[in-house]
């Protein structure tokens, strides 16, 4: 019986300072010295991750852009208090997540992804996906978001950061200001809740599909024969 780890799309980040962190510290120092271009370099380096983090939590492209923008501005204003022992990336993520959670609370629920939003944008890097594949991935993404929206906020946040943003449990613990053990526990609960909702949705979809095909058959039977 094969039990080796199946290939996953993301792996947890290695511990210890990254070359990126060292470079980020230099850019932060230069920004504090008055070099605006250094901050622009930081923005360009992390704008995509910040946008995706907000988008995964909020489900709206425009709102995600506003949140990412606001996060960078707040980071700029608080840059003099930046702790150089911490990664700029983790610090920025914390701001993005907090702003996104505030927006979610104001809104009251997770916004379902609009199909227009899923279909928009240029082709994904690495070539144009087949139309069938794209539709399937968009549908899967929509279902994932729908199920994530059913989870309580603390579980939803942890699962989104781990599964969709690819952050490790340690990074998540730093971002949400909790312990590693608490994040692991929440992730365990979140995954089980997610699977329960997912399975329920699949069963409901199968039942509806069967009912629909049953109705179609009955309609065909009743239709007058040529």
């Amino acid at each position: 019986m094969r039990t080796g780890a199946l290939p996953l799309t993301r792996s947890p980040r290695a511990d210890g300072p990254r070359a990126e962190d060292v470079a980020d510290s230099r850019l932060v120092e230069r920004t504090l010295a008055g070099d605006a271009e250094a901050f622009e370099a930081l923005v360009r380096r992390y704008e995509e991750r910040a946008w995706w983090a907000a988008y995964h939590l909020l489900g709206d492209a425009e709102e995600a852009r506003d949140i990412a923008q606001e996060a960078f501005l707040r980071a700029y204003k608080a840059l003099a208090r930046f702790d150089f022992g911490m990664s700029f990336y983790t610090w920025l993520y914390r701001i993005v997540v907090n702003l996104s959670i505030d927006a979610m609370r104001k809104r009251g629920r997770l916004k379902p992804v609009a199909l227009d939003d899923l279909a928009g944008g240029l082709a994904a890097p690495g070539g144009e996906p087949q139309p069938g594949e794209r539709i399937e991935s968009e549908e899967t993404a929509a279902r994932v978001r729908e199920v994530l929206g059913k989870l309580p906020e603390k579980y939803r946040t942890v699962m989104t950061l781990r599964e969709l943003d690819g952050l490790s449990c340690k990074e998540i613990a730093s971002i949400v200001r909790s312990t590693h053990a608490t994040v692991r526990w929440r992730l365990h609960i979140a995954r089980r809740m997610f699977k329960e909702h997912w399975d329920r949705m699949e069963r409901a979809a199968r039942h509806e599909g069967l009912s629909q095909s049953g109705r179609l058959r009955r309609a065909e039977d009743r239709a007058p024969q040529p």
Partner: protein, 183 residues
């Protein structure tokens, strides 16, 4: 490990979130337990789908430039300096010292060193003796400010000391408990 304890770890193992020893123990169990393996496999497949759905949407250069431009437009001048810690600490220390001094002076004024009961003259009236012997309740309904009451008490204390006030008997309480009723 039995199935019960393995099942508590399956969701984390399926996502690659268990460390070396735990992961090895779970993997060893899965080799021999079909039910647990099935559960692990379903969770692992589901997480694979969830992770693959993460970046289903491409972002164009225009979106990137719009975001970067929006940020840079909001920046005016260098980042604001961090608030100075030292003046704040100095101010806080000063306030703390003043508060302690006030409490100490007030305590000395209200509780005489020789332990004799305080008999305030005016403007405060003594309402009654409290439940504890030597306890006094002073009425401030006449609106006399706290400073003048304390001055009165301090003056009377001084007077008692000059007169060589009554010596404390063993039965007497060491210091009279003074309760001040404020309105």
């Amino acid at each position: 490990m039995n199935c019960t304890s393995i099942r508590k770890r399956l969701a984390l193992h399926a996502g690659g979130d268990l460390d070396g020893r735990e992961a090895a123990a779970v993997a060893a169990h899965l080799k021999s337990c079909l039910a647990c393996y099935r559960e692990y496999s379903e969770m692992h497949e589901l997480l694979g789908q969830v992770r693959a759905s993460g970046r289903h949407r491409a972002r164009g250069d225009a979106e990137t430039e719009s975001l970067v431009a929006g940020v840079m437009r909001g920046i005016h001048g260098p980042p604001p300096p961090a608030p100075q810690l030292l003046p704040r600490l100095a101010m806080a220390s000063g306030w703390a010292a003043a508060l302690l001094l006030g409490v100490a002076l007030g305590w000395r004024a209200l509780v005489p060193a020789d332990g004799s009961p305080i008999e305030p003259k005016s403007p405060a009236r003594v309402l009654d003796h409290g439940s504890a012997p030597g306890a006094l309740t002073i009425d401030r309904r006449d609106g006399s400010p706290a400073a003048s009451l304390e001055e009165d008490l301090a003056r009377q204390l001084e007077e008692l000391r000059r007169r060589g006030g009554p010596s404390r008997s063993p039965q007497e309480p060491p210091t009279p408990a003074l309760r001040v009723k404020s309105f």
